[in-house]
């Protein structure tokens, strides 16, 4: 009896001891991260038949179990990924928000300062100090755009560096989990569970979830398969390593090492950082670049079509280089619209004014740009064809324009104040014009017969001089006449005036005469045979004043209603036609007109005439270009000719270098007069204007929108991070409630175990006394 009883008592002692040990293990790990509370399961040990009785043999400790909710563990892992992803995103965005922060030195303040300085400049537009001040702010805007661009790039660089560090951590964790897998499989191969190793593995998976999205599957042998972004990171038999493939700036991806397979990580800190580098930063940079691009374009459009207060320019060097697209060693054959420029060149027109600086006489020239056809060489040819101007491309691909000594040029919309420089409208020269305008239907060999000072001669028009004789232009006929030896010898010249052919004597005065006797081309040109024309002492010299306020470019033609003397002939009128030939005004220049009086034509343009004879019979006319936008093609901003800024986006923007050196080149004037603030006002107007390239938002509101977008995204990401973190905390609380250790509880159990131990000891004593009693009897 006693041995059985003693054995039963011993078992009870051992079971209580085991319970105490488990409690000790729990208490000592109460604050170990990832520790799951363990409990000892005890049960009765087997019974045996003794003396016909089936008797119990006491208690025995069976197994130590972890208290763990596997489902909760999985959710916690996922939630950890979500929170870490959002927190990484918030930290990236916060840095970006810092870049865009408002206050001193911020871009919006610089915009304000820049436009403020323009307003101040507008009151003294020729003041060099004020010009330098404006340029300083322009330069500050450039630097700020650059620092925004660099700052954005740097956030990306930092994020990529962080990704690289985190990937190292992922690889360490993968290795650790794999090792634990092997250990767990080893320890559990017999029976029981490797509780503490499982806890360690769960903790490793938890750590991993803070870095990336994680999915786990446990196989029957206790090994855990860990999947990251759909790829196996840890398998029951081994593990993979991740690697970062990046250019260090903007391109980054995380791949399974040496396989080229993208790990497609979307969660965790790495997922969050990848999102910042791949989506958020490019979006922000794109927005900043778009703002910079449009700011440069709009400012340059206005600046390049204005004039320095010192008047026309002698030379200009394009800031933007043409690119040899077909790599044939030359840029001149490239289409302007596809020559690697930062801005688009559109179909349109550019007006170039060339001024004789001694006399102040200005000539306006139009250059048509066809985006589909005009090549760089075509442009250079058109520019060089203008008298006193030459254009070329330098070795770096920059277009340069140079005026002859004593001449200057500009691209302003200012009116030609003396448009009839050749005197085809009652000028001093004997002048005869075609009654009709181009195109003229000529045939090969058509003639024009004249009587000049040297007698009769005839000019035959030949096909090589024309592109298409049935569609002859006034310029072609004029060129054909001017190249004729007799025409030259008789001192005659021909011109194209707004599509009409004008033939004149070279000299002026009443002694100048010639007669158009006839010729087979007469009919096509609307000329009458035997028309004699004579020059006069004082020309009518139309004088234009005012400023054109119309919305679109136009070309007006002025013709007298009859023959007569200005200010004298009763009923003499001036008819004005627009480009389409529609009459837009009729002015009285007859007996009621006092010579020199300004008459309003239309849209703010005024004209005055001197005394003299005009002739409708001789088709007197003059033409005036009225310009709302002197560069509808954006050629000047594209080539960087006379611009305020160079570059085309936030990373390349800068103030044109020669402006910094010579602030007086700032185009503050729109007429060339020093005190004219027209162009400054045009620049100022841009401050409030809706910009087409920015969705009709102004610069200011576009910038506010940009900041607000980041702020809103950040704010919502921060809110999301907060609420997800709250969820994580509550999941963690639940995990703690399930698997955590309550020391009080353990102490209570300890007392229980202690008492059980005491009881077993007591029992042992009783059994031992019983045995002693028995021995004494013997």
């Amino acid at each position: 009896m006693s041995s059985l009883a003693l054995n039963t008592g011993l078992k009870a002692l051992l079971a209580a001891q085991s319970r105490l040990e488990t409690i000790g293990h729990n208490v000592s790990n109460a604050s170990t991260p990832g520790y799951s509370r363990q409990t000892l399961e005890v049960g009765t040990s087997g019974s045996m038949r003794i003396r016909g009785l089936i008797q119990g043999t006491g208690v025995e400790a069976q197994v130590v179990r972890r208290t763990v909710d596997q489902l909760l563990q999985t959710r916690l892992t996922n939630q950890g990924s979500v929170v870490a992803r959002l927190e990484a995103r918030v930290s990236g965005m916060s840095e970006a928000e810092g870049l865009l922060s408002t206050g001193t030195g911020s871009l919006d303040q610089l915009f304000k300062s820049f436009f403020g300085s323009l307003s101040s400049l507008s009151t003294t537009p020729e003041d060099k100090q004020a010009q330098a001040n404006t340029l300083q702010f322009a330069s500050d805007i450039g630097s700020k755009f650059k620092s925004l661009s660099d700052g954005t790039t740097n956030i990306g660089i930092d994020a990529i560096e962080r990704i690289q560090n985190r990937v190292v951590e992922v690889n360490q964790l993968a290795e650790r989990i794999s090792r634990l897998n092997a250990q767990i499989m080893g320890s559990e191969s017999g029976s029981g569970t490797a509780n503490d190793m499982r806890d360690a593995r769960e903790q490793a998976v938890n750590d991993l979830s803070a870095l990336t999205d994680v999915r786990t599957v446990e196989d029957g042998r206790g090994a855990l398969r860990v999947l990251v972004g759909g790829q196996t990171l840890v398998s029951p038999v081994g593990f993979e390593q991740l690697e970062v493939v990046t250019d260090g700036l903007t391109q980054v991806s995380v791949q399974i090492k040496d396989s080229g397979i993208d790990a497609a990580i979307t969660g965790g800190e790495i997922g969050g950082l990848l999102g910042v580098v791949r989506d958020f930063l490019p979006g922000l940079k794109g927005d900043v670049d778009q703002l910079a691009h449009n700011f440069i374009l709009e400012m340059n459009r206005v600046h390049s079509t204005g004039m320095p207060s010192s008047g026309p320019m002698r030379a200009l060097l394009g800031a933007n280089a043409l690119v040899d697209q077909d790599s044939d060693g030359q840029v001149s054959d490239e289409l302007l619209a596809n020559a690697g420029l930062g801005f688009d060149v559109n179909s349109g027109e550019v007006f170039v004014n060339v001024t004789d600086q001694a006399s102040g006489v200005m000539q306006k020239h139009r250059i048509a740009i066809d985006a589909g056809h005009t090549t760089v060489q075509d442009l250079l040819n058109s520019l060089s064809a203008i008298a006193h101007l030459s254009a070329s491309v330098d070795g770096q691909g920059h277009v340069q324009i140079q005026a002859d000594q004593g001449f200057g040029f500009d691209f302003s919309a200012r009116l030609d104040v003396a448009p009839d420089d050749i005197g085809s409208f009652g000028g001093g020269r004997a002048s005869l014009a075609s009654a009709t305008s181009e195109p003229f239907t000529l045939a090969v060999g058509n003639t024009l017969d004249f009587t000049g000072p040297l007698g009769n001669f005839s000019v035959a028009l030949q096909s090589p001089q024309f592109q298409d004789m049935s569609q002859a232009t006034a310029a072609e006929i004029a060129a054909a006449l001017n190249s004729d030896a007799n025409f030259q010898a008789n001192g005659l010249v021909a011109h194209d005036v707004g599509g009409a052919l004008v033939m004149q004597t070279a000299g002026s005065g009443t002694s100048q005469t010639f007669t158009l006797r006839g010729g087979s081309a007469n009919g096509a040109l609307g000329l009458t045979a035997n028309t004699a024309v004579q020059g006069q002492t004082l020309g009518v010299a139309p004088a234009i004043s005012g400023a054109y306020t119309g919305a679109a470019n136009d070309s007006w033609t002025f013709r007298p209603s009859g023959d007569g003397t200005i200010g004298t002939t009763a009923g003499l009128k001036l008819n004005v036609f627009d480009k389409q030939g529609v009459q837009i005004a009729q002015l009285d220049i007859g007996a009621n007109y006092q010579p020199g009086t300004e008459l309003e034509v239309a849209n703010g343009v005024k004209v005055a005439f001197g005394l003299g004879n005009v002739s409708a019979s001789n088709s007197d006319l003059f033409q005036l270009d009225v310009i709302a936008d002197s560069d509808t093609s954006d050629l000047l901003p594209a080539l960087g000719l006379g611009t305020l800024f160079t570059g085309s986006d936030a990373s390349s923007i800068d103030v044109r270098s020669d402006l910094v050196d010579s602030p007086e080149l700032f185009a503050s004037s729109s007429t060339g007069a020093a005190g004219d603030a027209g162009n400054v006002v045009r620049l100022l107007e841009l401050a409030q204007q809706g910009i087409a390239g920015l969705g009709n938002a102004s610069f200011d509101s576009s910038l506010i929108g940009l900041g607000a977008n980041v702020a809103t995204e950040l704010s919502s990401a921060r809110d999301a991070a907060e609420s997800e973190d709250f969820l994580r905390q509550s999941l963690e609380a639940r995990r703690d409630q399930t698997s955590g250790v309550n020391v009080d509880e353990e102490l209570a159990r300890m007392i229980e175990a202690q008492q059980a131990y005491d009881a077993a000891g007591q029992y042992m004593r009783v059994v031992s006394e019983l045995s002693a009693t028995l021995f004494n009897i013997l």
């Binding site: 007109y593 107007e685 702020a711 809103t712």
Partner: protein, 477 residues
């Protein structure tokens, strides 16, 4: 759910409570110290964007105010100058009126002429006012002196060299205002109304329209005289000193002892042997003069004709003969772009005929011309001088009106600027108060928030410490 607090969950709970309450306290403290409701845009993206948009409008307003300040200064300078100019012209008019008084001596007139020239010089200084390197009255061509005086066929003529443009400023969304008035509008208004002749020589307007600027001189020259009269009376020096042009009658009446040119007045015949017997200057009521030599006179009564031939010119270089019948002779001076049409039928004498292109004479030329007349370089009679002064006096008036009109314009612009300025001041205040409503922390609210956060934090701390202290261990002995 059964709540089973554990060591870890209790720690986490206390820790979270402490952190979140401390966070609230810090945020409240941030608001108090910065005075702003939010420090970062992401704290309240909507409000921050609204505040920025309003700040944009504040700076827009500031730009307009800046332009207005600059413009007002320029307007003020212009108005002061024009005020002075107006007063000077008034003085000039008074002096001119005094000069028209027939009783004045030549010396008195010369003094007045001197005063007029001084006024003209002062006016020129005003018109050429230069403030900080920019001329006030040259349009937008601020680097060029607007009025320069030069010689025009012997006349000190002043011409405008600026442009007609006005300095424009942007003082509102699309509100442009012009600031300067070109000097040409003020001192040289151009309202041509044709040529007027003073009437000295009898030349008058032809039938065609003329073209010219300011006062010009029509030079009428006497070329030769032809005398047809019986009785031996002859011309002196072949008529070289005569002034008469055209057909005139001569009557010698020995009975009355008079000789009469045209309608008179009759003149006493010189006594034989007297000083002027061989060179007798005979003048009619219109100042036409012929010199007669009576040395070979028979003493008989005689009636005859004197015919003067002459020619005329604008530039004293190109001369056109006076044929006595043409009603529309065109004279051209290409150097000044002047075209004058003359009816020569009534020309009766030589002389410098003042022709004024009405409505084109600037104030300087008008004053110069009047001073010239008062100095009487052409040796005119008092009535001829008066007539000549009157010819350009209207031009002084016209220019005076232009100066006053300019002053009114500047005044109106100043008033407009001022009202805009006041308007913007109001807008600015309103915008700033709106921004303050959005951005600025409400102190009473924030301080309350802060105190609440502080109390909650303290409560969390004390409860937390109790919670963490309490364990069964304390009671196990």
């Amino acid at each position: 759910m059964n709540i089973r607090p554990t060591q870890a969950s209790t720690f986490a709970l206390v820790q979270n409570g402490l952190l979140s309450n401390f966070g609230k306290l810090v945020s409240a403290q941030e608001q108090v110290s910065s005075g702003k409701k939010f420090l970062r845009a992401s704290d309240d993206p909507g409000a921050s964007a609204r505040a920025l948009a309003l700040q944009g409008r504040v700076s827009e307003t500031a730009r307009y105010v800046e332009a207005i300040a600059g413009g007002t200064r320029e307007l003020g300078l212009g108005a002061t100058a024009l005020q002075d100019a107006g007063e000077l012209i008034t003085q000039a008019k008074e002096i001119t009126l005094a000069g028209l008084n027939g009783t004045l001596s030549a010396e008195d007139r010369a003094v007045l002429a001197l005063q007029l020239r001084q006024i003209k010089a002062q006016l020129l200084d005003i018109a050429n006012t230069n403030e900080g390197g920019r001329y006030l009255f040259s349009g937008t061509d601020v680097g060029s002196k607007p009025f320069e005086t030069g010689d025009r066929h012997g006349f000190a003529s002043t011409a405008y060299g600026g442009n007609q443009d006005q300095h424009q400023l942007l003082v509102g969304g699309d509100l442009h205002v012009a600031i300067g008035i070109p000097g040409s509008d003020i001192f040289a208004g151009f309202e041509p109304a044709g040529a007027s002749f003073e009437g000295l020589t009898g030349a008058s307007n032809g039938t065609s329209t003329d073209q010219g600027l300011g006062p010009v001189t029509l030079f009428v020259r006497h070329d030769s005289t032809t005398l047809t009269i019986p009785g031996g009376v002859a011309l002196v020096a072949a008529g070289a000193n005569d002034t008469l042009i055209g057909n005139h009658t001569l009557a010698i009446d020995p009975v009355a002892g008079t000789v009469t040119l045209d309608a008179g007045p009759p003149r006493q015949l010189p006594a034989a042997g007297s000083a002027n017997f061989a060179d007798f200057e005979l003048t009619n009521d219109r100042g036409d003069t012929v010199h007669l030599d009576f040395s070979a006179w028979s003493g008989a009564a005689a009636n005859g004709t004197v015919v003067g031939a002459g020619s005329m010119s604008l530039d004293q270089t190109t001369w056109t003969a006076i044929d006595g019948v043409s009603t529309d002779v065109e004279l051209v001076d290409a150097s000044t772009n002047t075209v004058l049409h003359v009816d020569v039928t009534a020309i009766h004498r030589s002389g410098n005929e003042l022709v004024s292109f009405t409505g084109t004479v600037n104030i300087f030329d008008a004053l110069e011309s009047i001073a010239d007349t008062l100095e009487n370089v052409d040796g005119l009679s008092a009535s001829e001088q008066v007539r000549r002064v009157n010819l350009v006096f209207d031009e002084v008036d016209r220019n005076h009106d232009n100066v006053l009109a300019g002053l009114t314009t500047l005044g109106a612009r100043s008033a407009r600027m001022q009202s805009l300025d006041e308007n913007y001041a109001g807008v600015d205040t309103e915008l700033r108060s709106q921004i303050s409503n959005i951005e600025d922390a409400d102190y009473s609210q924030v301080v309350l928030d802060m105190m609440r956060a502080e109390q909650t934090l303290q409560l969390t701390q004390s409860v937390g410490s109790k919670l963490l202290q309490t364990t069964l261990l304390n009671f196990l002995r």
